[in-house]
Structures are given as structure tokens and as C-alpha cells.
Symmetry: C2
Subunit: 396 residues, 2 copies
């Protein structure tokens, strides 16, 4: 019998518990012993449940001091508390599985080091792209392959909003409100729609893929919340779609990382990824690209990734993350063509960075030549536009 503990019993915690219970026999056959949830940490113990109430505790000490507990699954979502929980658990030689991208992205290298020092597993498949097995294959691929590019649709909420605006020809605010009512979007959607969530996941993927620490603050970011139905309709006419894409590239021995809206053509691998679906694509020297798609969130999808990690940790079936170099950050050197919609009439005659523009009743649509991203931001700043007066997206 192997005892484990769960920290947090929300949507994801319940999903993980359900799978651990229902798949007890097949897990036992693979791991060699029965895996049992001995304790569950929960802030508020005054609640109803069908599960044995004696499993629950509101005191982390009950778990960390219990030498019988070999592994903890951290699913609190709280960055500061979970940082302490994870560190203490690793230092107590307990394996740690987490679904918390916030804390992983913030303290990735530190956790890897502590886990390594204590010879325990630190796994976080559920923190990136929900149900999709991507961390495990990526750690394997980097042994045999130099990875030159990672990109993906890593946030289901923003993709859900974009897809529904397009399919239903509805405004951003309407779709967001509906998504919030249905529980598909948070009351405060900032992290999802402004690319913060996708950026954290990109930071984890890029660090593993490029074998160099690529921190949250090194990645450029622009969200999709200022998008207008007019943008979507305009691009749809050209059979194009907008997606919030997280992407890191290796170029001339440096890395470039950005999360921003990108305009995709029909043939693109990411074009068909609609609704709350996620996808990750990696480019290796031994092949063009590999892509991995599936549900990026939800109780059972995320729970499934967690339980896979539990099995890997207990069986010792996982590869290390190697950070063997320090790559220069050239994200400020990104060059591309951009689409810009501006809700104001401005004179662009003689501007040689403009490829073409169209005047509409209340706004103009501009296509740029290939320009430096920072140049674009400077130009926007010069125009003194408020956040809601413009939207831009990169042509892929």
C-alpha cells in the first residue's frame, strides 16, 4: 500500500480522486501496490461529501509530518501557499505532483533542483494543456532532438471566446458574459484573455525544450480582449482565423518568445483547433513537427493528467529536465507582418511600413510590411491610442 495526499479538493481534486478510486485495480497492477489517498487538505471542513470525512484535514502539518505519505498532489491554485507546501514536501522526500502553473512557472528551477537533491519526482503534466500528454513526451524528445520551436494554443478560455465570436457572430462582451455564466470563464478573466496563463505554460515548455531557463518576465505578451467582431468578420472573409498563440523560437543561438493574437491560414496545423481545445506543436531537427491536441481543462481531463503523473512518479518512469545552457533573449528582435485595426481616422499616407489600409465607417484596417514588433508598439504609442481603440495580430 502506498499512501498519498491531495492538497485541495476543488474541480481538479475531485477529478483526480475519482480516477484514483475507479482505476484502483489497474493502477495497482502497474505500480505493484495499491495507491491510497490517506489525507486531503481542505480549507473549509464544513461541507457535505460522500467520501469518508476522516480523510480531510485543514492542517498541512498532518500531511507533511506523516511519514507514511510518499507523495502529495498539489491542486490548491494558491501560489504562495503552494510554494511552501511543495518545498516542504520535496524536502521531506515526498514526490510532488502539481496542476498549478502559477507556482511552477514562478519557481520552476528551484523546484527541479530541490527534487533532484532529494531524489524524488516533481511532475506537472496537468499544469500545461490539461489532458494532453506534452511534458512527458517533450522531456523524452529533447534527449534525441534539438528542438527549434514550440508553439501552441495553451488557453482554452480565450480560444473558446474567439471561436464563439466567429461561429455566432457575437460581440466579445456578450460571449464573455455567457462564458462566465456557464463557468467557462472566470469572474475575473484577466489571466486568460490577456495571455498571462498561456505565457506561464510557454515558459515551462520553452525551458524544457530549449534547455535554458526562460522566465515569465522574459516573454512578450499581448492579449486578445480588445478584439472586435469586425476583426473576426474581416479575416473570415479571407478564410483566416485569429488564435491567441504562445510561441518560442530558437534563432541564431538566441530565443524569441511571445504570446499574442496570430492570424492563421486554412492549412495551418492550429487552424482547426476550436473551442476550449488546446494544442502544442514542437519542431525538432529529426522531423518537421509533432503536434499534440486535446482538452486543456476540466475535472476529469486534468485529473487524468495528474493520475498519470502519480503513476510515473511512483514507478520512477520519468526523465529529468536538463538546463544545460543560458540562451540570450532576443524577443525584442521579433519581425513580422501585422494586422491592426484602429478606431480612429488617421493619415497614413507616405508611411512606408504600411503595406495597405482600408477605411471603414468607424475604423481603419491596416496591414503592415515586415516590421520590428517594438517599432509597431512605438507607432501605436505615438498615436496615443487608448487600449480599447485598437487591436493588433501577427500574420503567421
Amino acid at each position: 500500500m502506498i499512501n498519498i495526499a491531495l492538497l485541495g479538493f476543488g474541480t481538479v481534486g475531485k477529478g483526480a480522486y475519482e480516477i484514483l478510486t475507479n482505476k484502483k485495480d489497474s493502477i495497482k497492477r502497474v505500480v505493484g501496490e495499491e495507491v491510497q489517498v490517506k489525507k486531503i487538505l481542505k480549507r473549509n471542513l464544513n461541507f457535505k461529501t460522500e467520501i469518508d470525512k476522516s480523510l480531510f484535514t485543514d492542517n498541512f502539518e498532518d500531511i507533511i509530518l506523516d511519514e507514511d505519505i510518499k507523495l502529495i498532489v498539489e491542486m490548491t491554485g494558491d501560489v504562495e501557499k503552494s510554494y511552501i507546501y511543495i518545498k516542504k514536501a520535496l524536502n521531506s522526500k515526498k514526490h510532488v505532483i502539481t496542476a498549478n502553473k502559477g507556482v511552477v512557472s514562478e519557481y520552476f528551477e528551484e523546484f527541479l533542483e530541490i527534487a533532484d537533491k532529494n531524489k524524488v519526482a516533481f511532475l506537472y503534466e496537468a499544469a500545461v494543456a490539461g489532458s494532453i500528454p506534452i511534458i512527458t513526451p517533450l522531456k523524452s524528445q529533447v534527449i534525441t532532438n534539438d528542438i527549434s520551436r514550440v508553439r501552441g494554443i495553451l488557453n482554452g478560455t480565450s480560444n473558446f471566446l474567439l471561436t464563439n465570436m466567429q461561429v455566432r457572430k457575437s460581440k466579445y462582451d456578450e460571449i464573455l458574459k455567457e462564458a462566465q455564466d456557464l463557468g467557462y470563464a472566470e469572474a475575473d478573466p484577466y489571466d486568460d484573455v490577456e495571455g498571462v496563463d498561456a505565457l506561464r505554460k510557454l515558459r515551462i515548455l520553452s525551458t524544457i525544450a530549449f534547455k535554458s531557463s526562460i522566465k515569465n518576465e522574459e516573454i512578450l505578451r499581448r492579449g486578445m480582449s480588445t478584439i472586435d467582431l469586425n476583426d473576426i468578420l474581416y479575416l473570415e472573409k479571407h478564410r483566416q482565423k485569429i488564435k491567441l498563440i504562445a510561441e518560442s523560437r530558437m534563432e541564431d543561438g538566441a530565443f524569441k518568445s511571445v504570446v499574442e493574437p496570430v492570424i492563421l491560414e486554412v492549412g495551418d496545423e492550429l487552424y482547426g483547433i476550436d473551442g476550449a481545445e488546446n494544442i502544442v506543436e514542437i519542431y525538432g531537427e529529426n522531423y518537421g513537427s509533432l503536434s499534440f491536441a486535446g482538452e486543456g481543462a476540466g475535472s476529469l481531463p486534468t485529473g487524468n493528467a495528474i493520475v498519470s503523473d502519480v503513476i510515473d512518479a511512483l514507478g520512477g518512469n520519468y526523465y529529468p529536465v536538463e538546463i544545460t545552457r543560458h540562451l540570450e533573449n532576443k524577443s525584442s528582435d521579433i519581425y513580422a507582418k501585422y494586422y491592426i485595426r484602429i478606431n480612429r481616422k488617421i493619415n497614413l499616407d507616405g508611411e512606408n511600413w504600411i503595406h495597405s489600409f482600408e477605411n471603414h465607417e468607424d475604423y481603419i484596417i491596416v496591414s503592415t510590411n515586415t516590421i520590428k514588433r517594438s517599432f509597431l508598439l512605438d507607432k501605436i504609442r505615438e498615436l496615443n491610442l487608448s487600449e480599447n481603440e485598437y487591436f493588433f495580430a501577427r500574420f503567421n
Copy 2:
């Protein structure tokens, strides 16, 4: 130092050797010891190479009797010889990696049993969908998930032909000839275009996914070689594409498995998989589906999958295949709507299985209502059509 041997030194063998050599250091860091190719089996030793000639042998005994060799990689492509090689190697307690879908699909259960008995690894990631990691994640997914459906585009050659016919509006024979000249298709393309190759891969995937032996001869099969440019143009008008799809489903506790041309709509996950690309999609109880796409063949893509297996085998990082039940085969009970093109004018008035039909100059196009697949085959037989006089595909 861990010594291994390669059997076969064709396209795939060279790719695997190149990666093993170039990635020696990173493989050593993960495995703990240097992995060295000590012997390479090759039929004809009269050839030029930059590799140390003393590594090569034409005698399998040199390898099987060498106790220093801990692992063999079988890449001969020959089913009968490789059966003997693999059995002898496993019985000599050597790990076996193979890229040979022919031999794996023919003797899957036997190899699994012998490997298990001898406590060595038997891995075959490269035998299914080239560079795509699918066997490894699938073996992991079945521990936490009941898989209800597996489908994919598992043959790059036939997909290449279909895509190029559509993109270039060219006839089957022309594209095939060109593909053969370029080396994308074999001189004898039978296994690829008639679905034999895809069927072997489906047999392996379905057996793992459903935990029940699903043998080659239990899977229904229809190729795509009688397709006509008219079929493709007709469907393109409706924004549909034809793909050769391999699919197994669980229904009412039984399985249904078939490889045949399928008509896909724009929204389908498989719609955008063009050219020589492969994709595998699995449906689990804990999520809608996961899909894995990438290059299905080639020297380095396949070599990459082999080297990943070598690392997994030496590190003991792999899960067992569990065959815990015997599912009934209900493949003959498949019901669907079909598209049929017949190069003959026949009277279909009053046939209540016909949904609609169109008369063209030299042929008719029929859409059926939902019918039993075997009923369709009976009807085609009744018409005494020669193989080249008709083509059918399932509507998805």
C-alpha cells in the same frame, strides 16, 4: 558502456545510427552509461561507408551469442527472418526494439509474452506512425482511462497520393508514378494503397487500447486505389476530403475495426492532415479525445522513435501491455452512410437503401441511407462490377 546491435542498415537503420552517434552525450546523461553500437547486421558486406567496417557482420550468430550486447534494434523489414531474430534475442534476455510493423502485427502477443517471461523490454514505437510518440502515451493512458475509440491516418503514402490528386487535380496513376519516381511510394504499392499497412498498425493500437487481442484478420479492409479524380472533385465541391482512415470502436462490449476511405467534413480533427503526415486520435472516458500528429515515415523521423525506445528500454521507463479480456468482433455489424461511384449506368429506381444519386456522363454517384456495410458489399457483388468499375467511401 552499454553495447547494442542494429539489424538492418537501410534508411531507418542509418537514421537511428546517426541519432545514436550525434546524441551520444545527452543519451549518456539520461541512461547513465554510454550507449554504443557494437555490431550491425547487414546482408551484403560489399559496400562503401564512412562507419568503421569492422562493426558490420552478415552473421546473426555474431550478435545473438555476444553476451555484451544488451539490446538489439530490428530494422530488417523481413517478417520471417525478423520473427526468428526477435524471438532469439528476447530468449537470450536482450531487449528488443523494432520498427517492423509486419512482424509485430503478426506475432504481437507471442513477443509480449516472451519479453515478459525474460523480463526484458519489447518496444515498437517506430512501427506505428513513424516519429509520432503514440505507443508510449497510449500504454500510459489505458491505465487511467477506458479507451472507446482509436482512429487515424496511419499510412503516409496513400495520404500523399490523395492530397496530391486533390491539390494538383491529377489522376491517380500519374501521381502514383511520380511518387514512385521520387521514392515516396514503393514499386509495388499494394500494402500502402490497399490499407494493409494501416491495418497492421491499427491492430497494434487497438489491442493496446482495448486490452484485447485484435488480430490482423479480424479487421475489415478496403483500399483507395480505385479512386478517380472525379470522386475527389465531386467531394471538394462540398468542401469534403477523402482520407484512408483506420478505425476501431468499442460498442456494446464488442469491437468494430475497419480500414477504408472515409469522407471528412471541414471541422474534423483529421481533415487538415495532408501529404505524408500521420495522425492518431484516441477517445477516453476522462476526455473527449487526444490527438497526436507528425511525420509517419523517413530516416530520421523513424530513427528518432527508435532511439527514444532504446533509451526507454535501457532505463526501464516503459509500461506493460495488458491483455485482460477477450472482446467479441462485431466488425461485420458496421452501419454507415456510403458514397459510391459506379462507372456504369444502372437502374436504382425503387431501391430504398439509396438516399440520392446523380447521373454523370460515364458514371453515377450514389449516396446511401444508413446501411450495413456487408449489405453494401452484397449489392456491389450483385452488380458484377469489376474492381476498377467502382469506388466507395464511408461518410463520417
